[in-house]
Symmetry: C3
């Protein structure tokens, strides 16, 4: 389970980097709080952070469910795929939102596999 914990912490560190990028863009492009719109570059950084938050809410419990009811090593592996997919997503979104597809798809697949694998594993455990 330590590997799973490390992958979980790394995913959160990556998210922390997205928060810092977004905060930096707020200052650099002059978007005063509480506004979250008004500059396209800031809005991209904000959406990278928000979309990652939206996905983490599935990822974090999904990772644990998969580790507990399916396989801890595979949970860690799928977690790494999620982290790499998010890095690709952020890189392409910040350049051009239209190119966010592949990175988004990779994290969606990893997330779906973790959640469904965890759900199926828990159901099998019950039978």
């Amino acid at each position: 389970m330590e590997f799973v914990a490390i992958v979980e912490a790394l995913a959160l560190l990556e998210y922390g980097v997205f928060i810092l990028i977004c905060g930096h863009a707020r200052g650099r492009h002059g978007v005063p709080a509480p506004a979250t719109t008004g500059n396209a570059a800031f809005e991209r950084a904000f959406r990278v952070q928000m979309n990652t938050l939206e996905q983490l809410v599935i990822f974090l419990p999904g990772l644990l469910l998969f580790a507990l009811y399916a396989s801890a090593p595979w949970a860690a592996a799928l977690g790494l795929v999620f982290i790499l997919g998010r890095a690709l997503y952020a890189r392409s979104y910040l350049t051009d939102p239209a190119r966010r597809g592949p990175g988004f798809g990779i994290t969606l697949l990893a997330n779906g596999a973790l959640l469904l694998g965890g759900l199926i594993g828990a159901i099998v455990e019950l039978l």
Copy 2:
């Protein structure tokens, strides 16, 4: 605890469906990323997703705390109430935001019961 894990996974699957509905609305109503405003139907789908995210952040730990420190079967039951309340909330919000009250109230009650029950259970455990 398997029942609790299954209810947790089902709540996340429901949230995943709200994400898909929101993504579909983005395409259908022509709201290009990173915008999150500009079309009322998209904004409703976006708020259903976001509000569910806001509630899940209480629900997921609350469910676990209640299962650990109060009662696992009752945690699963309250979790199902949350899921059904969210479905009602989404259905009514997507039709007419003014009607979101009952569904919102049901999930708020389930969430409050899970969190306060878990908190009281943990305090009692300590005494």
Copy 3:
């Protein structure tokens, strides 16, 4: 671990209070759903809630990782620092967004300490 569970529940209760403040501001300042902009006082309350959500997604797993792999009592203590920092953040942001710095910094430090401490603890456990 009961202390950690209690701190976790208290942080979620604080977040619940921010949700209620935001909902109250929506009604009081006449911002009909699904809008999240249009009135500065409502936008501040909304950002307090959203930013706390953004931070909780790191805080909740970080608290557990730190409690499991570093120290449960210190996790609870850092968790209390987070809760107090958030209260300060909310108070100052609702008055004047420009003054949100100190409260934000305190929660960021607590969050960083929990996450990095948990990560290092898990790595040490592995060695």
